[in-house]
Amino acid sequence: MSEVTEDSIRQESRAWLEANWDPNLSLVEWRNRLIDSGWGVPTWPVDWYGKALSDPLGRVVAVELERIGAVGVAKTGIRSLAAATILVHGTDMHKEKFLRRILTGEDTWCQLFSEPGCGSDLAGATTRADFKGNKWIINGQKVWTTSAHHAQYGLLLARTDWDVPKHQGLSFFIIDIEQPGVEVQPLRQMNSHASFNQVFLTDAEIAPEYLLNELGNGWAVATTTLMHERRGADSLRRYAQASDRPERVYVEEAAEIGVQLEPYKWYPQRGGRVDLVVERAKATGAFDDPAMRQEIAKLLTLSKAAEWTDRRARALQDKGGPQGPEGSLGKLAASNVARMAAQVHTAIAGSDAMLTGEDGALDGVIAEVLVSVPAISIAGGTDEIQKNIISERVLKMPKEARTDTKGPFRDVPRNTVG
């Protein structure tokens, strides 16, 4: 076998794309073709639609896709967390059934972790899964569940044993959302959008083969999902951009972005929109104010340093370095950038920061920044939790003394809900 190099990968993927890329296919047809070739997710295992390439080689392929203007596999939202979790903990049946439709975009996923009574303390979940007859019966409530309103499947963390310590009584399931026992209610956010939901589970059913990993091992599986979520925190600032080209595949992709992603229109704003700061400052005259220039420069410095830190972390991983709690550092940096950006945008807008919609600065985009940024330091684990992780796992500082992890979960004090 010839050696795999950046050049060989570039040439091979380019040749394949030139021979196979066809914008007149339907979106799903094209993505299936791409998936079958291994160029859709080249970093995945060879047995599962990939070529087992390293991350840097994977990026070479991404550049080729972009160069030719080809649409890639579906990547947005929780689907990539679901895929990562299934790749690690799923059986062949799970992989067979779910992975391809995740990549084609036919199935949407959601993450049923947080509950009214527990968010940071996920291991305190009280949604219950009881084995009755030949299936699991699920009862409880999940909340802040992004995408649940249009998802087909959910990653579910539920309690299967109340008599063991909290982390040991959890199990991890794949649940079919489109069943009578699952009721999804969109939940309005402080920025008026509703990309998250409340999910009521009332005697919802799960067949035994949709338990992921083993009974009582749910915490370990959830940890895999969360690690991927934190690492991806930086990419959350990027978002899909629809093309206006006329061929079928583009039209269908634009529709996917426009319709399916509508509730997520605010996502770029939660990162703070540092990209708009200089142009806004010039438009308003703030650019000529020495004090404002200082604040803007602080923001640009932080944002650049965060970007370069992310590049350093990736370069280290590409060299085979550790993949671990470092994701928390990037997530924390992203929170700081977003918070500071909101302040700078406010200072630039001045009184206009009181207005929104068509009356607001940039047709309301700036106002949306101001009321969306708070999500960044909460979703996917709060800043405080990230600092706990960094201090305990990276800096090896002692864990908090805990009173909740030893005895049976049944006896642990918890929120009374509902």
């Binding site: 200082q294 640009l300 650049k304 830190t309 350093r312 924390l332 405080e384 600092k387 500082m397 864990k399």
Partner: protein, 376 residues
């Protein structure tokens, strides 16, 4: 752009760290900062002869080793970490780059080999009593006199200006202002009319002098009146190098605070188990890592002679200055009363953080420069 160090660079760093751990202990720092010279001749000789450090950034044609700003950055980061007391920054960073940027081919061949070998300690006399770090602050005049020039005025904040054998000076033609009429000169330390005074500094590990010039004979370095461009380039490069030095010091503080937190017991447990201390430590790690990323990026930009250096250099300088000072403040805080005690070493780095914060310009000054060079 490269975002990691090569194995050779990492090995170089480990080697330097071993050397400096041995030769620049806090006890050595305390001994040297109490002297006027401010450095140890034996250690300087080893650093030059055995390690060849002043040669690292100087091209081979001029007697150097021909590495670039990335390697120089590693040297400075390790020196900053160890708080090395030596005229390295003055000679190998400021003077060497000024000569490289301003000097004629012949002058580079003449002056640089001795700086590379460490035989000559040189410095750059640039800022004046007004404390400005931009060319507009330069008032010293250069007047043509026979074959050469004479300089009149005063230079201040001159790093190691009291011990340097060769002084590179920036002065202007009388009646000019701003970027016009600026030229570089070299002046011998024993030139007539030159009066040197060591200034009292908050940070005793970094010696600065005030130099009074009364008709001091000087030799033109490079081209008459063309000093502005080489000066701004030299200062950008120096800002990048100082950023490297600062992140080394900040990292040392961060580690010492963490070590102390692990050790110190209060309320029957290690203070490292208190969340207030844990979160402070996590924030310090983040800030120091961010500043390192900026310093490394800037060093690479300087090495590549990148077009965006005038934007990246002040960014890295301001970022490192804030992170270093913040780390210093928090490290004293985490040490409690011990941190405010002379015998504890934290204040040595605290004071270096303070002097570095303003040396070559305050963070606010650099942020303003960043804005001026931010791409439209």
């Amino acid at each position: 752009m490269q975002f990691t160090f090569t194995e050779e660079q990492e090995e170089f760093r480990r080697y330097l760290r071993r050397f400096l751990d041995d030769k620049s202990t806090p006890a050595d720092v305390r001994r040297l900062m109490a002297t006027d010279d401010g450095y140890d001749r034996d250690v300087w000789r080893q650093l030059c002869n055995d390690l060849g450090l002043p040669a690292v950034g100087i091209p081979e044609t001029y007697g150097g080793q021909g590495f670039g700003f990335v390697e120089l950055g590693i040297v400075l980061e390790e020196m900053g970490r160890a708080l090395l007391c030596a005229p390295f920054f003055a000679s190998a960073v400021l003077a060497a780059n000024a000569i490289l940027n301003a000097g004629s081919e012949e002058q580079k061949r003449e002056l640089l080999p001795e700086i590379a070998s460490g035989e000559t300690i040189a410095t750059l006399a640039f800022a004046e009593d007004n404390g400005r770090w931009d060319s507009g602050g330069i008032e010293m005049t250069a007047t043509k006199s026979g074959d050469g020039y004479v300089l009149d005025g005063a230079k201040s904040f001159v790093l190691d200006g009291h011990i340097a054998g060769l002084i590179v000076v920036v002065a202007r033609k009388a009646g000019t202002s701003g970027d016009t009429g600026l030229s570089f000169f070299t002046v011998a330390a024993d030139a007539s009319g030159l009066d040197k005074r060591l200034l009292k500094t908050v940070d005793e590990t970094r010696k600065v002098a005030r130099l009074q010039f009364s008709s001091v004979p000087a030799t033109l370095l490079g081209t008459d009146g063309e000093g502005a461009a080489p000066l701004s380039r030299t200062l950008d490069q120096a800002a990048v190098c100082l950023a490297s030095e600062m992140v080394g010091g900040a990292e040392q503080l961060r580690e010492s605070a963490l070590e102390y937190a692990h050790m110190r017991m209060q309320f029957g447990r290690s203070i490292a188990s208190f969340q207030a201390i844990k979160h402070k430590s996590a924030e310090m790690l983040l800030e120091v890592e961010l500043a390192k990323s900026a310093a490394y990026y800037a060093a690479q930009a300087a090495a590549d002679g990148a077009n965006d250096l005038p934007m990246v250099a002040p960014l890295a300088k301001a970022c490192a200055a804030d992170a270093y000072m913040q780390a210093a403040v928090q490290t004293v805080q985490i040490h409690g009363g011990v941190g405010f005690t002379w015998d504890n070493d934290t204040h040595l780095w605290f004071k270096r953080a303070k002097s570095s914060e303003v040396f070559l310009g305050t963070p606010a000054y650099h942020r303003e420069r960043l804005m001026q060079h931010w791409p439209a």
